[in-house]
């Protein structure tokens, strides 16, 4: 049912004055008129800057010295970054952060979703409460976590010492090389587990009851039902959640910047922090642009996989 044919039929069936009004703008014109502003905005604020970044990445431009002569350095920055042993520090910090946040969030999130799907009385209310952390500003909340993590006076250290007997001033979550990477994992997990939970819950609710009933008739054990019905059917949803969290945490900046700013030393320096240090502290604009492009290509690769997975989930 093409809309234009209905328009034409309507035009034929009505007197000329009205017919003209019906035609008005052609559908094609409206389509472009409606899409163009969005595209223009994206071109101006996203694509143009991206092209600029690419151009800068081949120069030695420094944003704090706009009047200095700009030299073309070719692919030097890219070669330098890929050969720089120091870049593997941030890469490792990012990998540690990604691996543990995603693992913990998936495990806890799925378990919670499974429990909530038991549909006890008041589950809606408790679900809403659990969802609150993920709606809040990571920067503002992350900043407050720095207070909870204070060695002597912080609530976190107090609670840990209450349950384990370790003196609360004997460890510094944010100041110690060993603990700081875990401090950011804990806050991110606290914040984003509800996200994974919500998507898993949708997955669990999408499984029709008759499948379990059939399994029940076949006398499949509860354990067996879980492994051969529940898990496989929720898996696409878990994948979706993992990819979303993967992309977001690969770009992670606000939480880490406020909790540790990459410290102590550079133990929690994830790639976004490196980028900020290079671009806005050392003002190596050309070098940081090259790094930004490399990261963007990596995220774009992830995004591609993500869209495919997204379509797979949608088309089920």
């Amino acid at each position: 049912m093409t809309t234009s044919s209905i328009g034409t039929r309507a035009a034929q069936a009505t007197p000329p004055a009205l017919a003209q009004r019906v035609r008005g703008l052609s559908d094609r014109a409206i389509a472009w008129l409606f899409i163009a502003p969005t595209m223009l905005l994206l071109l101006a604020i996203n694509i143009f800057p991206l092209i600029w970044t690419i151009r800068l990445s081949f120069t030695n431009f420094r944003a704090n010295r706009p009047n200095a002569e700009v030299l073309n350095v070719g692919i030097d920055h890219y070669v330098a970054i890929l050969n720089d042993p120091d870049i593997w520090g941030p890469m490792q910090a990012t990998a540690h952060f990604l691996f543990w946040t995603i693992t913990l969030q998936t495990l806890i999130g799925f378990t919670l979703a499974y429990l909530i799907d038991r549909k006890f009385r008041g589950h809606g209310f408790w679900t809403t409460l659990i969802l609150i952390p993920m709606m809040l500003s990571p920067a503002v909340v992350g900043n407050f976590w720095a207070f909870l993590y204070q060695p002597q006076i912080g609530l976190f250290n107090y609670v840990v010492s209450f349950f384990t007997g370790i003196p609360p001033s004997s460890f510094e979550m944010l100041g110690s090389v060993k603990l700081a990477p875990w401090a950011i994992v804990i806050v991110d997990t606290w914040m984003w587990t509800p996200y994974v939970m919500l998507i898993c819950l949708a997955g669990l609710r999408s499984i029709p009851d008759y499948i379990y009933e059939a399994a029940e008739v076949d006398r499949a054990s509860a354990w067996r039902q879980f492994w051969s019905i529940t898990l496989p059917m929720v898996l696409p949803f878990i994948m979706l959640a993992v990819l979303f969290r993967g992309i977001e945490n690969f770009k992670m900046f606000d939480l880490v910047n406020l909790l540790t700013s990459g410290g102590p030393g550079s133990t929690t320096e994830v790639v976004s922090i490196t980028l900020k240090r290079e671009a806005f502290e050392k003002w190596r604009t050309g070098y940081s642009s090259a790094l930004a492009i490399i990261l963007f290509v990596a995220v774009f690769g992830l995004a591609n996989i993500y869209v495919k997975a997204l379509n797979a989930v949608k088309n089920r």
């Binding site: 008005g24 991206l50 029709p208 671009a279 997204l310």
Partner: protein, 319 residues
Amino acid sequence: MSRAGISTAHSVVAPTNLAKCVAMALVIVYALVTLVPLGWILLTSIKSPPDSISYPPKVLFEPSIQGYCNLFTTRSRQTEAYIRSLPPADSACERIARANSMVVVSRSNYLPRFVNSLIIAVGSTLLSVGLGVMAAYAFSRFKVPGKDDLLFFILSTRMMPPIAVAIPIYLMYREIGLSDTRLGMILLYSAVNVSLAVWLLKGFIDEIPREYEEAAMIDGYTRLQAFRKVVLPQATTGIVATAIFCLIFSWNEYAFAVLLTSGEAQTAPPFIPIIIGEGGQDWPAVAAGTALFLVPILVFTVLLRKHLLRGITFGAVRK
């Protein structure tokens, strides 16, 4: 959705009462533990500075509005003699300040920053939802050449690490005089949000039967009139849900805000962490600023409950 009809018929698969109780207990424990940091923010905001840093952490204490006073004012230390020479204090905050041998000097920057957050969030939400609903309608109803590629392009702009685009945007804004302006931030957040708006709204508009508009057009409406008078009212829920998501994003955003704004257009998220008192961070004031900043989001979360899932997955998962 489809399970309701079946599961009431016979309860072969319904969880046992014991399973329900255990599940309920575990979920409640998790919910309570996860809310402790938020409760602590509220408690800290009504503590006096010494109470906020006492060991062991105090749960029972004399409530004080000093945190909120410190949040909204700047103070300076004065001699006892000078304070005694002043006329009686005219506000509660002034009295608290004098008790600590200080006088209130002026208002702090918190309120202007809060207002900036409000203006930028509302402005960018209106712009991105306005643009988004038009583009979403076009993608939903018309044959657009390369539609899937365009939609993917729109989504992919969201994947960029903010810091990566912040460098050229910083340079660009400096050139055209948009750096540290509300307009600049509104445009920037709109560009980030429009991808979400298009994707979400396309889903909502897809769900409105085309027949409604076609019937309206047969009755003599033009395409644009049908869009305005038939599609938009039908899509109200979707538009509101999308708007709240955009609002929350702009409200919470930190990376662009901290890199691109410093004074005039600075929003609350980069400001709250730098609230300091004498000798380090003034935690009750920080907590008060945080608490006030979080309240609108709490309200919105409750309002959005039903559409939350859709929003966080770009419309990929619908209940």
